[in-house]
Assembly symmetry: C2
């Protein structure tokens, strides 16, 4: 293989993301230098945070540069190494972007054991999404047995882990997801006590029925009307981990009407970005890996085949078309 393919950001979205915002390029495979490795990426992770990076606005990270490879987490295999710590055949996760191959000096590259845990899971339940769930739940919400925890985007890579961990804490867990199919998976596979289909149009009423004693902790991935419905049900001293507001990522502002509940119920709300809490990753990933290996933490994946499928898969994910972790597979299954 003398060339490989990659996808760069061609233009910034005007409103919603379009396939034309991306450009597929074919480039030569580079020679690696001393201290470098060449990685063949097997999986690319598609995540909501990428949407925010596509905008040229003040946020927690620099915007994705135009004409450069789209940022993204990857899992793959070392195919050439001049680095003492990596050997050909090692499985690694890294941040090599929307690209079939990548060169690394080892920074942000981590060897993983794909014998107990499938390689792709290191991009999901045992990767950044799993850590996001672990940190937001344990460090911000700090759930106690018997409490009711609500999770939006409950069938997603983050939400599904939040709910399963909260169940292990002895909580009642209510998911919110879009559509009957996702809700069935949330309850039947992930073991939530209930899941509300926000598309059914009875969010407030359904939430009241599912959480008759109110909500003590909210893991928020969506924002807007979904967040409002839970805010209206929050109990005194409730805690909210604000992890995502995917409903507003296309640029329009999503009003929240029940912020007064933060005052009247003396809530604490905290926004967080998991990459700023690396000190927790070894502990969190260790726990998550053991749970997955033991069959105590389940996950779902939606896999698009081939790098060229990434833009459509990403747009679909932003619209909620995936179930569980959205991946792109770049080697034949």
């Amino acid at each position: 293989m003398s060339t490989y393919r990659r996808i760069v950001l061609a233009s910034r979205p005007q409103g919603g993301v379009a396939a034309s915002n991306f450009r597929l390029e074919t480039v030569p495979v580079p020679e690696i230098g001393d201290g470098q490795v060449l990685v063949r990426n097997h999986f690319l992770s598609l995540d909501p945070y990428m949407r925010m990076r596509m905008e040229d606005v003040k946020s927690y990270a620099a915007p994705q540069a135009l004409d450069e490879v789209m940022i993204g987490g990857t899992a793959g295999e070392i195919v050439a190494s001049r680095h003492p710590k990596f050997a050909v055949g090692d499985k690694v996760v890294g941040m090599l972007g929307w690209s079939e191959m990548g060169v690394s000096d080892g920074t942000l590259l981590k060897k993983v054991d794909a014998t107990q845990v499938p390689l792709s899971a290191y991009l999901g339940a045992v990767g950044m999404p799993g850590m996001t769930a672990w940190y937001g739940l344990n460090q911000i919400i700090q759930p106690k047995a018997g409490q009711t925890i609500a999770v939006s985007a409950a069938s997603g890579a983050v939400g599904s882990v939040v709910g399963q961990l909260a169940k292990q804490h002895g909580c009642r867990v209510i998911g919110i997801a879009g559509g009957r199919q996702k809700c069935d998976v949330v309850v039947n596979e992930f073991g939530f006590d209930a899941c509300i289909d926000y598309k059914a149009g009875n969010l407030f009423k359904d939430l009241k029925a599912a959480a008759p004693d109110g909500v003590d902790g909210l893991f928020e991935n969506v924002g807007g009307a979904v967040m409002d419905a839970v805010l209206a049900r929050m109990n005194p001293y409730g805690r909210i981990a604000l992890c995502g507001m995917i409903s507003g990522y296309d640029g329009q502002l999503m009003p929240v009407h029940y912020l007064h509940m933060v005052l009247s119920m003396r809530l604490t709300m905290q926004g967080f970005i998991i990459s700023e809490h690396m000190e927790f990753w070894p502990q969190g990933l260790g726990e998550l890996g053991q749970l997955v290996a033991a069959g105590k933490l389940r996950y779902r994946e939606t896999i698009a085949e081939g790098l060229e499928a990434a833009p459509d898969a990403f747009i679909g994910m932003l619209r909620g078309k995936n179930l569980g972790k959205q991946l792109v597979r770049m080697v034949a299954a």
Copy 2:
């Protein structure tokens, strides 16, 4: 004096508060029993929290009961005592409500020294509003020298103390208030670095000019559009003490459009009710009393004369007509 006057809640507001929601009653002065005192109230405190109590809704406290004396903080003098800890002539603060007199068994009644600090100040800068400012600033915002702190309702009983304390912490302090007159007082008397008149209609632009380095801490008393303007300017890891949302107290929901800043800037927002933090009152009131006695903490009062003036004064306060602490004086000045 064989009778006194009091004001009860006659009906709950439909939208805005009306004078007809209150009823002035004349009742006999009761005989006190063993362990009781009779207090002649000199001042009644009017506070935004009363608005919320007038509604029959889920909140941090039980609703004000119909046909009972309106809740309220009072400062006055013991005029009869069969209680070992109180003597006739003692100055006291308590929660005797919208009433010229009150009987107490000593619960929630506190003797104060009105020689160094004027009696009325125990309802303002050295009372509940001052403590609200002290707690929200010191315990939630936790300001550091050099940071920029924003305060809405800056000329009010709470806001004016927040700003002066923040200045003593070495912060740059930006107030937001309604009207040029209030803003002049905020800057010239309370010593804020700047004050933005939200009625001037350039809130976002004026705030950007006044806080060119962004805002690190927000003490929020207003909500809605005023809060949005500051949210949009928040710096990473900023902290928000949510103390009041007076803009929404008349029942309509006040949307907030910039909640995504809590995520992108990893903010912490916390609602609080000062009566739940009594353990801080001795320390806080001690500090505030010393500052007032030493002339290092200034305050303004708007005083309505006579209990019968309380309803209009309260309605005016909700509309921002007062400057500083709104009081009702029930004895001739």
